[in-house]
Symmetry: C2
Subunit: 443 residues, 2 copies
Amino acid sequence: MIDWDALTAELQGIEVISDPNQVAKLSQDYHTFSPILQAQLDGKKGDLVVRPTTEAEVMQAATTCVKYRVPVTIRGAGTGNYGQCVPLHGGVVLDMSRMQAIRWIKSGVARVEAGVKLAALDKKARETGWEMRMAPSTYRTATIGGFIAGGSGGIGSINYGQLRDRGNINAIRVVTMEDEPRAIELRGDDIHKVNHAWGINGIITELEIPLGAAYPWTEVIVTFESFMAAAHFGQALGDADGMIKKLISIFAWSIPSYFGARQYIPDGTHAALLMVAEPSLELLPGLVQEYGGCITYQRSQQDAGKGVNLAEFTWNHTTLHARNADPSITYLQSLFPADKNLQMVDHMYRYFGDEVMMHLEFIRVGGRTVPAALQLVQYTTEERLNEIIRYHEEHGIFIANPHTYIIEDGGRKVIDPEQMKFKQMVDPYGLLNPGKIKALMRS
Amino acid sequence: MIDWDALTAELQGIEVISDPNQVAKLSQDYHTFSPILQAQLDGKKGDLVVRPTTEAEVMQAATTCVKYRVPVTIRGAGTGNYGQCVPLHGGVVLDMSRMQAIRWIKSGVARVEAGVKLAALDKKARETGWEMRMAPSTYRTATIGGFIAGGSGGIGSINYGQLRDRGNINAIRVVTMEDEPRAIELRGDDIHKVNHAWGINGIITELEIPLGAAYPWTEVIVTFESFMAAAHFGQALGDADGMIKKLISIFAWSIPSYFGARQYIPDGTHAALLMVAEPSLELLPGLVQEYGGCITYQRSQQDAGKGVNLAEFTWNHTTLHARNADPSITYLQSLFPADKNLQMVDHMYRYFGDEVMMHLEFIRVGGRTVPAALQLVQYTTEERLNEIIRYHEEHGIFIANPHTYIIEDGGRKVIDPEQMKFKQMVDPYGLLNPGKIKALMRS
């Protein structure tokens, strides 16, 4: 039994939340997109939320949690979808969202604390001609630490690939969960010891994030009579080296029916939602015409304050909008093989029909434009969902399964031995996000 | 017989050069890189050089040349290598290099006159956070009009592909050679009617050129014990979506022996000359190490004023340096097929040995990183040169033959019918750059 009063006393000076409702709320993320995770994680919550504002406070919290052998689940804004912010065994929820200092931005690199919101960093960067290279659709609220720990890419990945690609993170600083916690700064290739590690490998306090040179982006909607014409257009725009873009999202009808006010996407048509750089607008109509599309909406950067951002309808916000309209909808996360002809996209689109609604997000993988997909699934049973996943995998489509909180089952199959070695060093008592790693489970 | 005095009189107000030495000099380009062109074009020159400073003067010159049915050969700085600035049938050399106005730069697009030097445009663009997307190694002297008319890509093509790729030119304005010359502005996809047309399709007076968001570039030399390790490194850097670069030039030994002072490239080693964005420097050593390379030189943007630009040793400046050391050297222009394993590069490197020294320039083609090559050839005979070219073509390597001034023989095989149609309209008397198009030659 943990003496919570004694533990709390040792956290003196740090904000601690013990109100059960608030603690329950801060033990949640958006795993509810998955009916399976929803059932598995129902009622799971921490005992206490701790909200440090400095690395010193993180050290103090780590020391205390190690001393009392209390599980620590780290959270940013809780916008993830995989239950990695949900404590399986109670303990402390370490909420990093108050650490919002932007230390510096120079020569295309930003040094930031883990709790900095992506939109805030982007805004600050743009003041000096830079911008975030990539961000999820939750960029308004998501934190950079949460994105690095739990995300993989997003809007901008059509240019820069994914977070794991060399060059997209320069440094990560973590506080360990040793008897005497240390702050360790990992630079260069060493960042992979903690990148995308779901808070199992130390507490991220600061990061150095390379930026992209900023463009004025125009948002564009293009509609198509045929879904595959829209998909081929997306591939062609991705492959058009002279056309600068940040987002190529392709939606099969009836996904656009979930977008609310949709005067720009007529019933039954398929849509491309784009962010295109201003200098590339002159040549866009020619490419659209080649694929039989129709530009129905255009909003320049100067008007960005007005109305809705198209980005809010893309990536996993698509799923959010669909579930708001129909809570029986869930989703997949897929990566199709590199193939300019998109044969597997075509096959899956026709094979599953309305049961698996096609939502493509074109990104760069290893120097090539490929469609990632966040297909919307009309959920019936877990068996059927697994059957759908299996069918994709049997056809060479990589599935990062968002319906499990077991890290190995989610996509990576085995945890990188370097990450496991680092974990053994920085978390000798296995207190960080326990219960999520199959390899560490005892029978 | 042309009445040159009468013609000159009608050019009143425009600078005209009639001094035979100067006219001969302004009838040249760098076709002398090719021993074959050198022999074929020896002694060819215009009768008069005309140097307009405004579009009105271009119109006046066009009117006059049409009236007297005088051939017109257009030139920028004469830095091309294909003899397209050399008049085959005398006439007027129209030197556009005095039209140097930069009309405006905004939102990533520059409106410029044809004679603007690439370095001047780049400098001006960088003042507002933009830069030229691509430029040849002759950027210090070359003009934008000459680059568009005669070039295909260069430093920066690893990001934006080639000039012909959609989105790299927004508009081209040309003056026609009709009885009553007009200025025609082509925008969007219509620019292909005059793009890369060697001055056969109208006189380019102004252009709108999309720019790239500017980066601080660091120049880097990496050396390798094995040429193929250097080549694979180049491919990997090209494919590394998170690593921002502008130049990936790979040289087999003994090419670096032609570079003069070379304390950074030990004898017998193979070299990569790079331009890498500052935010990507942190991660470069990891990639270099993976391929067994050694970083021997690094110069940041702040020091760009000091010493030599690496770019001056790349693209066709490599050929220039090699020929300065050994005038028997000539070159090829190749595009290898997309293949991450670089099997054909390996084959050609081993097959030809020192006779064809491998010089790769990685660029983007249709969304993929591929090696273009400007191999240095130890020239013996025209027959042997053609044999070398044929061997490459038979193995699926595209050769843009720089040893002919016949446009169809140079690479495109047939002239785009749209370009021919446009030529018939704008140059009804066939006065522009005559003798260079096979399809127009009468028996």
